[in-house]
């Protein structure tokens, strides 16, 4: 396993669209392990995409399970992911390993459904919402050569408002 170098803005390679994965082999498994190690090595990132380390293949990792009180599918390795249903929208503040020291507000869908393959090539389908859905949209953008800075609405308008579950049972 090895930590890979993360490409940062204005590296043109971040703008290259990624190709689908066709070979689900040992090399892929090893790459995914490297990608995860790279994600964990930096500032607390909830996701990472293969093109961020210069590999232009449709592979992302998302894991929001470390965030308290957040709906999550746990640690997700999504290969050839494809969102086929979007619902709602919400503003939230994002940052990125590839854009150090900058955050901005981005509008994302609040609920989505997506198809993907796991690292063995098995088909998967997920339905997700909120912070996890946001993370997936952020990472999938990387596969199309987009960064959140391409979508920033305003730095000053509303921040992402986290759902607060109160002890009385009423939710905010």
């Amino acid at each position: 396993m090895a930590i890979r170098d993360i490409l940062t803005l204005p590296d043109e390679r971040l703008k290259i669209p990624s190709e689908p994965v066709e070979r689900f082999d040992r090399e892929l498994t090893e790459f995914v392990a490297d990608l995860e190690e790279t994600r964990l090595a930096g500032p607390a990132a909830v996701g990472i995409a293969a093109p961020q380390v210069g590999r232009h293949q449709r592979i992302v990792i998302v894991d929001v399970s470390g965030r308290p009180k957040t709906a999550s599918h746990g640690h997700l390795v999504l290969v050839n992911p494809e969102i086929f249903h979007w619902e709602g929208f919400e503003m939230g503040r994002e940052g990125c390993l590839s854009v150090p020291d900058y955050t901005g507000n981005v509008i994302r869908a609040t609920r989505l459904r997506l198809k993907a393959q796991d690292p063995t090539g098995a088909p998967r389908e997920y339905e997700m919402e909120g912070f996890e859905a946001r993370a997936v949209q952020h990472e999938l953008d990387h596969l199309d050569g987009l960064l959140f800075v391409d979508r920033v609405v305003s730095r000053r308008t509303d921040l992402y408002r986290r759902k607060v579950y109160r002890k009385s049972g009423s939710s905010d």
Binding site: E139, Y160, V164
Partner: protein
């Protein structure tokens, strides 16, 4: 002291001010850092970090012609800070109530007692002149728990100020 200065410009708003000012700064050999431009009460306001090869006095005289022409008041201060000093907010406080003097002081004193560092503050007066409503939105950083902030702010409710605190966070992906 850093190489940066803080330039403040205020004047009647009209299209083209930013273009004219930044061109003059460029021609005077300046680099720009963080900036925040707002239109407040119909006026143009900007705060701009500038760094140049020449001292403050030189910069002021370089800006003088364009400032005179556009009717801008110019203020230039040496700056202690520099780039890459961002703090990330973890709380948002929304305030609203029938407008009266003292709302901002009442709310922000409570926040200050909790060690709350205000990073951004915007406010506006909505409604109409007969029934003005003061609305304020604050983002900041505080190490206290949400419940502590809510408890500290609760008494303001009895003085007809609606205050809502919510945690916010930034997705790093």
């Amino acid at each position: 002291m850093s190489d940066w200065s803080m330039l403040t410009l205020v004047g009647q708003d009209r299209p083209g001010i930013v273009a004219r000012v930044t061109r003059a700064l460029y021609l005077a050999g300046c680099t720009l850092g963080e900036a925040s431009m707002l239109r407040l009460g119909g006026s143009f306001t900007i705060l701009l970090m500038v760094k140049g090869s020449q001292p403050c006095e030189g910069l002021e005289s370089a800006l003088a012609p364009v400032a005179t022409e556009l009717g801008l008041r110019v203020h230039l201060d040496p700056l202690e800070g520099g780039l890459h000093r961002h703090l990330i907010p973890n709380f948002q406080v929304r305030v609203s109530g029938a407008d009266r003097p003292g709302i901002v002081a009442d709310v922000t004193e409570v926040l200050a007692e909790q060690g709350f560092n205000i990073l951004e503050l915007e406010s506006d007066v909505a409604g109409d002149e007969s029934r003005p409503v003061y609305i304020m939105n604050i983002q900041g950083y505080c190490e206290r728990a949400l419940e502590d902030l809510e408890r500290a702010l609760a008494p303001l409710g009895e003085r007809a100020i609606a205050v809502d605190v919510a945690p916010v966070d930034v997705l790093i992906g």
